[in-house]
């Protein structure tokens, strides 16, 4: 219990409303029982990274970035995997989990009988998925560092970037979940996630695509996240990064607002 109170003290109260914080605390309690799930989520990106390094890397050789520089393939893919895992974690937490709590476990009905309101719940849930995402991101960045895949100290900025990606997808995911009627709808979510994962300059530069497809790929929110983190770990800072960050921030904010609105409609008819 003390570890939890400590964790909650570290999170500034100004960031999360006091009431939203109790929603966070609830999730901490839950994962105390099933920490293995939390822990195991860390491995999937590691497996992909290892596959990129020993497998695909040997087949592909080096990759050229925008300015024609040659980059080791694993160093190219790793930041994208960090971005993708931030997306995956946020989407899983904000879709399947929230749907379960909303429709089956009736967790929110219980919460709403207390002073908590729909906005507190939305904020608390998104906050929780950010914390979970941050744990994974820190772990992955450390692994990248040990594996010698960081080419710049700017890589520490990969953490806030991963959180931004998490915020964007948690907001959007939760908003989408509020419209879902059955578990079958999640097949669409999985499909969308897979498309984003595979086609957002994750495994190869966009230059592989014909020009029109390059434009389409830029609509992918994950693409913006990948560009952001890749610039930090490779140490190629540019002003255009602001645009990518802005895109993600806007996506998360709209998602959060829609979620709170929809939760109010669903839970307090």
């Amino acid at each position: 219990m003390s570890a939890q109170s400590l964790g909650l003290r570290v999170i500034p109260a100004a960031v999360f409303g006091r009431r939203a914080r109790s929603v966070l605390e609830r999730n901490l309690f839950v994962y105390k029982h099933i920490w293995i799930i939390l822990f195991s989520g860390f491995f999937e990106p590691l497996f992909y990274l290892f596959a990129a390094r020993v497998g695909l890397g040997q087949l592909v050789g080096d990759v050229r970035n925008g300015s024609g520089e040659r980059i080791d393939y694993a160093a190219f893919v790793a930041p994208a995997l960090l971005a993708a895992s931030a997306m995956n974690g946020a989407v899983y937490e904000s879709t399947m989990n929230i749907f379960f709590k909303l429709r089956y476990a009736k967790v929110y009905d219980g919460m709403l009988a207390t002073p908590l309101g729909p906005f507190d719940i939305a904020l608390g849930e998104i906050g929780w998925s950010l914390i979970r995402g941050a744990l994974y991101a820190v772990g992955f960045i450390v692994v990248m560092w040990v594996a010698g895949l960081l080419q710049s100290p700017l890589a520490v900025l990969g953490l806030p970037a991963a959180l931004l990606i998490g915020f964007a997808f948690a907001g959007a995911g939760m908003a989408a979940t509020s419209f879902m009627r059955s578990w079958q709808d999640f097949d669409l979510v999985n499909l969308a996630i897979l498309v984003l994962f595979l086609f957002s300059a994750t495994f190869y530069p966009l230059s592989v695509y014909p020009p029109w497809l390059q434009l389409v790929a830029q609509l992918s929110p994950l693409y913006h996240g990948v560009v952001l983190i890749r610039s930090f770990t490779l140490g190629t800072l540019e002003l255009t990064l602001l645009w990518h960050a802005l895109f993600l921030a806007a996506m998360g904010s709209v998602g959060l607002a829609v979620s709170a609105f929809r939760l109010r409609k669903l839970l307090t008819p």
Binding site: G17, R19, K106, A113, P115, G117
Partner: protein, 330 residues
């Protein structure tokens, strides 16, 4: 910004307390209270007022509008029309403050199945902003009170229906509410569990907690409620104490007769003058009378020869069926 936040949670500062309202003022007051979902009218311009310290019942068949009314009182469902005041404030603008002083036992348990018994109450208390130091001793007391002290570390899933219900009540009491709202608290429980629960609710009432109960068990209403309203098709059709209602809408006693198949159908016209009111059902005949013995004597004199005769006291169930009819709802 900060001050509004604090004001929203009176629990932390002053603790729950009746300082704001004087004793004669209603705790809940509804005038023309209406709830519509699209075209459907769930609650149709009802009036009622609930006083501090009483146990107030909403009776009615399924779909009568009880739960909708409860949800409006609990500030989780906006009022469509009319006026509703809870603790003298408007749920639309003071929802969080009202909920801070309420305990809610919903119709189906909303227990957190991913948490243990203790954690369910603890986390619920955290939703009210109560600090852990306050919660821990309070939860021990509450679990003791609902006879779950030994099950603190148990998961929710293996608990029996009655235990889950008692846990929900413990959870609803964690903020020491002034008003406890119970929506069909004993539906689906076995007799032992129901009586255990009634016992706990009775003790709460003695401690001065105001109770609002919906139920379709008449014995429950008679046991627990000081005053009740009967709802049917979104409206209140009667109001009073259980004895009032029986006096007003039924007779002191009821004689139940069974006749052989064939006789039953043709018995109707031979019952004239036997009772204040009579009712011929497919399986039996009910005679509402103030003196059961005199009625049975008269039956013998007329040589009606029923297969069986039972004289019983009138109950709230008779009132209920009279007011809301015998047709199945749902």
């Amino acid at each position: 910004m900060k001050s509004t936040h604090r004001a929203a949670e009176p629990v932390d500062e002053a603790g729950p307390g009746p300082q704001n309202e004087s004793n004669d003022r209603a705790l809940v007051e509804a005038r023309g209270l209406t709830k519509r979902f699209g075209e459907f009218v769930a609650v149709d311009a009802i009036n009622f007022s609930i006083r501090r310290g009483e146990a107030f019942g909403f009776l009615g068949p399924n779909g009568a509008g009880k739960t909708s009314t409860m949800r409006m009182i609990a500030a989780v469902s906006p009022v469509t029309e009319g006026r509703l005041e809870v603790f003298g404030t408007d749920p639309a603008t003071h929802g969080a403050e009202i909920r801070a002083r309420l305990g809610v036992v919903p119709q189906s348990d909303t227990l957190d199945t991913e948490l243990t018994v203790f954690e369910n109450v603890y986390i619920y208390g955290r939703y009210f902003g109560l600090p852990g130091e306050v919660l821990r001793p309070r939860i021990s007391e509450l679990l003791e009170f609902v006879q779950l002290a030994e099950r603190g570390d148990s998961k929710v899933e293996p608990l029996s229906g009655g235990m889950k219900r008692r846990l929900t009540i413990a959870r609803a009491l964690v903020n020491e509410p002034d008003l406890l709202v119970l929506d069909e608290p004993t539906t689906g429980l076995d007799p032992q569990a129901r009586h255990a629960l009634w016992d706990r609710l009775y003790r709460l009432k003695q401690r001065g907690v105001t109770l609002i109960i919906t139920t379709h068990y008449m014995d429950e209403a008679e046991q627990l409620c000081d005053r009740l309203v009967v709802m049917d098709q979104a409206k209140i059709v009667a109001e009073g104490s259980p004895t009032d209602l029986i006096a007003r809408y039924s007779t002191r006693e009821v004689v139940e007769l069974r006749f052989p198949v064939g006789v039953q159908e043709r018995i109707g016209d031979r019952l004239d003058g036997l009772a204040t009111r009579s009712e011929v059902l497919p399986d039996r005949v009910l005679l509402y009378t103030d003196d059961g013995d005199r009625t049975t004597a008269e039956i013998t004199r007329r040589e009606l020869a029923p297969e069986s005769t039972v004289v019983r006291r009138s109950t709230l169930e008779d009132v209920f069926l009279r007011l809301t009819g015998r047709t199945l709802v749902d």
